[in-house]
Amino acid sequence: MAEGDQWIRIVSLSQLREDEAFPAKIGDTPIALYKLNGQVYAIDDICTHEYAQLSQGFVEGATIECPLHQATFDIATGKCLSAPATIDLNRYAVRVDGNDVFVNAVPLKE
């Protein structure tokens, strides 16, 4: 199946704010969208350490900090940057078409 078949419209670009998370879902999977310097990124929204919604955490520069135990992740790549988490987040391809933001339902492979 071509990657393009699985694009899902998530939100209007105008609804995204710089340095703020926008929680959403792909099927049952919670994801979060972020706009940093005009670029939109999509990563998993559940911390890989314990169950916590990262979109309720703190955007610090290009990272998101878990609201509970301070694990941090790179917003652009999903890479885990600090303990107590040790596992990276899935990241998803994002396509902006006019004012529409689409996310590909299949996580990107490294």
């Binding site: 314990e50 169950y51 916590a52 309720q56 955490g57 703190f58 609201p67 509970l68 135990h69 301070q70």
Partner: protein, 238 residues
């Protein structure tokens, strides 16, 4: 030895609503049979209203429908909760006269070590409260200052202020008694929590998203405590 004390007025937490002529207010005191931190934790996580205060200021929407945002700075945590287009709880129906659904806010401002100022209220849904227009509803401030007495008992000073019908003592009393009823329920919970902690000291902790404000406040307090200890005992800190 008598020590000097310098007061910096700008650092005194503002509780002006309690004696501001534009607000009606009443204050009170509770003795708590629990560690002071449990009172602070309770005020930073208002999902508990849904489970403990169903007859007054709570309803299920607070736990199930709230949009929550936590912001922080080195000396402050603010938890902002909005509950949009939901039934008001019993107290709000009584004192606000709401007939339909409301947009309700709870903005909790924590200033260490134990000052909690709650900006709370509701407006009929669709009248613009989330955008800042609060004139069609009720605005209240719930103000709290907690002081440890012992490791397991605390002094809990609190007050409730309202910006509507401000000169009517009956209104002030009505609101106060609703909140007082809820706070007595809290005091029972604090005692039970302390009893459990006495049975199992340092129990394993499971945090959930609603604990985000609590977690950030505890980090500020831990950092202040560490700084104070290193000032008092510089050798030990090295």
């Amino acid at each position: 030895m008598q020590r000097g004390c310098t007061v910096i007025p700008a650092k005194i937490t503002d509780f002006h609503w309690l004696d501001d002529s534009n607000w009606g207010a009443k204050t009170s005191y509770l003795h708590v049979k629990a560690n002071w931190q449990l009172v602070v934790d309770n005020l930073l996580d208002l999902t508990h209203l849904a489970f403990v205060h169903e007859t007054t200021i709570g309803n299920a929407a607070l736990a199930e429908r709230a949009t929550v945002k936590v912001t922080r700075s080195p000396n402050n945590v603010v938890v902002t909760r909005w509950i949009i287009d939901q039934q008001p709880p019993p107290t709000f129906k009584k004192v606000g006269g709401f007939k339909g659904n409301v947009d309700r806010w709870q903005i909790i401002d924590f200033a260490p070590p134990a000052f909690l100022r709650l900006d709370v209220g509701a407006c009929p849904t669709g009248t613009g409260a989330p955008e800042g227009h609060r004139g069609d509803g009720i605005n209240m401030r719930n103000l709290n200052a907690i002081t440890p007495e012992t490791e397991k008992t605390s002094h809990y000073f609190w007050g409730q202020a309202h910006d509507f019908d401000v000169k009517n003592v009956e209104t002030t009393e009505k609101i106060f008694h609703e909140i007082e009823k809820a706070f007595h329920e809290d005091v029972e919970v604090f005692s039970a929590q302390q009893r459990n902690l006495d049975l199992i000291p340092d129990p394993p902790q499971l945090d959930i998203n609603a604990d985000a404000g609590v977690t950030q406040a505890r980090r500020i307090l831990a950092s202040m405590h560490e700084k104070e200890q290193s000032t008092l005992h510089p050798a030990a800190a090295q």
